[in-house]
């Protein structure tokens, strides 16, 4: 495998994906409070995670997600926002990576599982932080909102994964293994 000049390309591609994720996070934060429930989100940035997962591999997807969450929390959120996103992001990344690894599921299904688990991860942190019993409704509502947004993002993501040229991600960029 040739790795000539791959470091520069790697930096460029990862930088581009990270930038995309941050911009999408910002874009999402600009969408007016159309969703009546706090925590209900479209999860636009998950498109980038899906691209990374399917084009580069699980390690890259995880790395980009952590980078994205840290950057976005620094830019737009506080520490608690960081905790929430980190819990949601990590749980959904792990679930999506595992599901993809089985090879039995398509992007849309993987994304739906990711959307739901993202919300569940957030709720777990919320339960710890707020110590409240009234959170059951949240789980039910966010479960289905995660399903819906996961489906939408999965459809968008699968379009992109299919159309982005593989040459963009070639040259030692993919995770080993």
């Amino acid at each position: 495998m040739k790795r000539n000049g791959s470091a520069a390309k790697k930096a460029a591609v990862y930088g581009m994906l990270a930038a995309m994720a941050i911009v999408l996070s910002w874009l999402e934060s600009q969408i007016p409070a159309f969703f009546a429930f706090p925590g209900m989100k479209l999860g636009l940035t998950n498109i980038v995670v899906l691209i990374a997962l399917y084009k580069l591999g699980p390690k890259s997807a995880m790395g980009l997600n952590i980078l994205r969450i840290a950057a976005v929390s620094l830019l737009f959120g506080g520490f608690s926002a960081f905790l929430y996103s980190l819990a949601g992001g990590m749980l959904s990344s792990v679930i999506m990576i595992l599901l993809k690894k089985t090879g039995r599921f398509g992007i849309v299904a993987v994304s739906i599982a990711g959307g739901v688990s993202h919300n569940i991860g957030q709720i777990i942190v919320a339960m710890i932080v707020m110590n409240t019993a009234a959170i059951g409704w949240y789980i039910a509502v966010l479960w289905f909102s995660g399903l819906a947004s996961g489906a939408l993002i999965g459809l968008l993501g699968s379009l992109l994964v299919r159309r982005l040229p593989d040459s963009l991600f070639r040259g030692g960029l993919r995770d080993a293994g």
Binding site: F105, I112, A113, V116, A133, A134, W143, L147, A151
Partner: protein, 132 residues
Amino acid sequence: MEKKRTAKGDILLIAGIAAAGIIIAAAVLLFSPHGSEVVVRVDGTEKHRLPLTVDTRMVINGRGGSNTLVISSGEAWIEDADCPDGLCIKTGRISRRGQSIICLPHRVTVEIDEGSGGNNHSSSADIDVVAG
């Protein structure tokens, strides 16, 4: 490359997730205990705390408009509002702990609480579920 994969796994997974969601919703509906107080907040600050057992009707003055709250036979609902979408009216009747009605335009929330005795939900555990 992965074109060989059938959609069977996908359908099963998605159906499973949806089924789990329905089960969770049903469990929440069945097991969440009825509350005893109605908490009205405007802009996040508590304005009123009313017992769910006493029938009342009151006008909540929110930001740029008002909502009419009715409490009757252990249920609370918004009967009338001058907000553009009227979502708070459509939300319907609430009586279980943690349920809420939200009027986003007026920044009004109506939530069912477990009642005075503090914020500590573990104090009077007449619940048959260990909710963590």
